[in-house]
């Protein structure tokens, strides 16, 4: 079988600076990552609902139909399980599918393909058939979309062995992580956020690949370790900046990928601070935050000076009302309170 494995670039190479004046949107960074990779290899294609003629429901793929044509930028029928399963077959026969879910909330109808086929194909064929596809789209509360459209799937999906899960928090990481995702031989779930697609920051024009399983230290301090991934990293940074005004300096670790999880960086930081707060948009029960706390307790119990604290969304369906949704999600205020609790 013709497995398509694009060479993974040297991930030990130093990354370009985050500082600069090439300011573009998160969505443009995603598009840049896909386009750069697609120009190099004709076997990569993008498929999803509204990705072609409409330029993407969220304009991530704007202009890509024009550049790459309808054979590589493909509007699919409204059939998430269909295109997830099609991606499995296409990947088995040597193509590199990038599948866009308009929302990861809609991926639930494709659960059998995504969880029961994609991650197990390699294992069940005795190492012979991988499914190196990238599945990407919006995850988490998008802003009053109601409970069925506001899923944070990472808590649920991270439980399944065989997939890698990347959750960028900023445009710089969006480009570097998505390029790595496309080069991965394993399936990657790439979780974006509708609330961040318009975020602007410097993104280097050069090509760069951010390794999976390597957290980024976004703020530095020795009072407490703040661990997060995806959109709440930004709330952690806000919280850290405000705490700095009060003389409290904290480490903020952006995990960037939760599968694999850079537990070593977390333990190193906790070794310095003795305290940890994990901020996670998922529901608390059996969440990624729970996993981080468990691993810290298993492997670094003696490092702790205070019990770990989790800041999750509340354990209820995502509310529709604006005020309730704001209350439900992790935010700066909750994070500051959690840090202060650990400082007791």
């Amino acid at each position: 079988m013709t497995q398509f494995a694009p060479p993974m670039p040297d991930l030990d190479r130093s990354l370009p600076s985050r500082e600069g004046d090439r300011v573009i949107q998160f969505r443009e960074a995603l598009r840049e990552a896909m386009s750069e990779e697609m120009r190099r290899d004709p076997r990569i294609f993008l498929m999803g609902e509204e990705v072609a003629e409409y330029n993407g429901a969220y304009k991530v793929s704007q202009g890509m139909l024009e550049e790459f044509g309808p054979k590589r930028i493909i509007d699919s029928p409204i059939s998430e399980n269909g295109f997830a399963g099609l991606a499995v077959g296409a990947a088995m026969y040597g193509l590199k599918p990038i599948i866009e879910f308009m929302s990861w909330s809609f991926s639930l109808v494709a659960a059998d393909q995504l969880l029961n086929n994609v991650p197990k194909m390699l294992y069940m064929s005795g190492g012979q058939w991988g499914c190196g596809a990238v599945f990407r789209g919006n995850d988490g509360a998008g802003g009053q979309l109601g409970s069925t459209h506001s899923w944070c799937v990472e808590g649920l999906y991270a439980n399944v062995p065989g997939v890698k899960i990347a959750i960028p928090s900023c445009p710089y990481d969006a480009k570097g992580l998505l390029k790595t995702a496309i080069r991965e031989k394993d399936p990657v779930f790439f979780l974006e956020s509708e609330r961040m697609l318009g975020d602007k920051a410097h993104v280097p024009s050069e090509e760069y690949y951010i390794p999976f399983g390597k957290a980024a230290l976004m703020r530095e301090g020795d009072a407490c370790t703040l661990v997060s991934f995806g959109r709440p990293v930004n709330f952690c940074i806000e919280a850290a900046d405000e705490l700095r005004g009060e003389g409290i300096e904290v480490d903020v670790l952006d995990m960037r990928t939760i599968r694999p999880l850079d537990i070593d960086s977390i333990l190193a930081s906790v070794g310095k601070t003795g305290r940890i707060v994990v901020v996670d948009q998922c529901w608390p029960f059996a969440s990624v935050a729970s996993e981080v706390v468990t691993q810290v307790c298993e492997r670094g119990f003696d490092l702790l000076d205070h019990q770990p604290v989790r800041v999750n969304s509340d354990d209820v369906p995502a509310p529709y009302a604006k005020n309730l949704e704001a209350e439900f999600l992790p935010n700066k205020t909750k994070i500051i309170a959690a840090v202060k609790k650990t400082l007791g």
Partner: protein, 378 residues
């Protein structure tokens, strides 16, 4: 304003070798006069069918004596599998199976013991050898049809003159995957053939309770796909319809659907006892339509076969089945490493490396440094 008829459909049923083993000489030839099957081909395919039956018989006994896990017999459906397998080009077209078409897989080069190895509970039975164009057995119902569509999509993208042919049962046509695969295949016009082995029973649910459609074949009409029903116990009909469908797909004509009407003469699997829900008279009636009996009668009538040849083939098939079992049982159990090594593509992620060492050192949790079990044992 008169009511207009905007669509009309017709479902044809193709039979070439009837229950009395009479051949329709006209349909048994292609329009250019070539036979659908030469005598030599019929003889070869008949032997595959008999060998498949012999493996079934032995596998059943093995399961009953505790030497094998659950096993789904192919009994009664051999003509459907062999006919479709024959129509597909070996080494070119891809078979995307479920689990009741063993003979087709073997015809395309899968070593026979792989199937038994799989049912004995060893993933390596699904480690398809290089050059053999098929995907692993697929035990969930219907999921493989979407994979076939994706593989066919890849053929089209890569401009390769290959066809994917996927197998499934009547029960699978109730799954969402079936409809999504059919819709995609047709909307994208990919070279895929959907081959339904309608064996009348989805475990204990009869075909009539599975769907209110009069035929399974008509479901494809809704997807704008050429479709036909064939006598699935008639090797000639299966070969003709499958060849038509496969070559149409290869020529760029898009997907097709085939409903092969057959019957599951055995239980669903060895974990089932069909006597509890099937009428013995129904089974008896279908036993008379056994594709092996029909083909043997045909061969004998043509003086190509006799009792002595049959006895020799039976002996040879039994010996082959015994050898297959011996080979499968002779393979050592997989090592602990394999459990970890195939979860991700190499290199193994650090967290799995840690767990692998944890298991090897009999330690607790996810950390070999804890060495809990070893410490207790010491």
């Amino acid at each position: 304003m008169p009511v207009k008829n905007v669509y009309e459909a017709r479902i044809e049923h193709l039979q070439i070798l009837d229950e009395e083993a009479r051949l329709d000489e006209k349909l048994a030839k292609w329009p250019d006069g070539r036979p659908v099957l030469t005598d030599a081909e019929v003889l070869e395919l008949y032997q595959y069918m008999v060998r498949c039956r012999a493996v079934d018989d032995l596998a059943f006994k093995l399961q009953r004596s505790g030497r094998m896990g659950t096993y789904p017999q192919n009994r009664g459906q051999e003509a459907a599998a062999v006919g479709a397998g024959f129509a597909a080009k070996r080494g070119v077209d891809y078979l995307v199976p479920c689990y009741r078409e063993n003979a087709a897989l073997w015809m395309h080069g899968l070593p026979m013991h792989y199937v038994l190895l799989h049912w004995m509970g060893d993933e390596r039975g699904n480690q398809i050898p290089d050059g053999v164009c098929q995907t692993p057995l697929c035990i969930p119902i219907g999921t493989q049809m979407l994979h076939a569509t994706g593989i066919a999509w890849a053929f089209k993208m890569r401009k390769e003159a290959r066809v994917a042919i996927t197998f499934f049962g009547d029960g699978a046509t109730s799954e969402g995957d079936f409809h999504e695969a059919m819709n995609f295949a047709s909307a994208f016009q990919v070279p895929c053939v959907f081959f339904c082995q309608n064996n009348q029973w989805a475990i204990s649910v009869p075909r009539e309770s599975q769907t209110a459609s009069e035929t399974i074949a008509q479901k494809a009409v809704a997807y704008g796909m050429p479709t036909t029903q064939v006598d699935g116990n008639d090797l000639f009909a299966v070969v003709r319809a499958s060849t038509d469908a496969i070559e149409r797909a290869r020529a760029g004509g898009g997907p097709s659907f085939i409903e092969a009407v057959t019957y599951r003469l055995a239980d669903h699997t060895t974990a089932d006892d069909a006597r509890r829900y099937r009428d013995a008279k129904e089974v008896e009636a279908w036993q008379k339509r056994d594709p092996l009996i029909r083909l043997r009668s045909y061969l004998q009538a043509r003086k190509l076969w006799d009792d002595a040849k049959q006895a020799a083939l039976d002996d040879e098939a039994k010996a082959a089945a015994t050898e297959v079992v011996r080979t499968a049982e002779g393979i050592e159990a997989p090592s602990t490493d394999e459990m970890f090594d195939y979860t991700f593509a190499a290199p193994l992620p650090a967290e799995l490396e840690l767990q692998k060492r944890t298991l090897q050192t009999h330690s607790l949790g996810q950390d070999p440094a804890q060495a809990g079990l070893s410490a207790q044992q010491a």
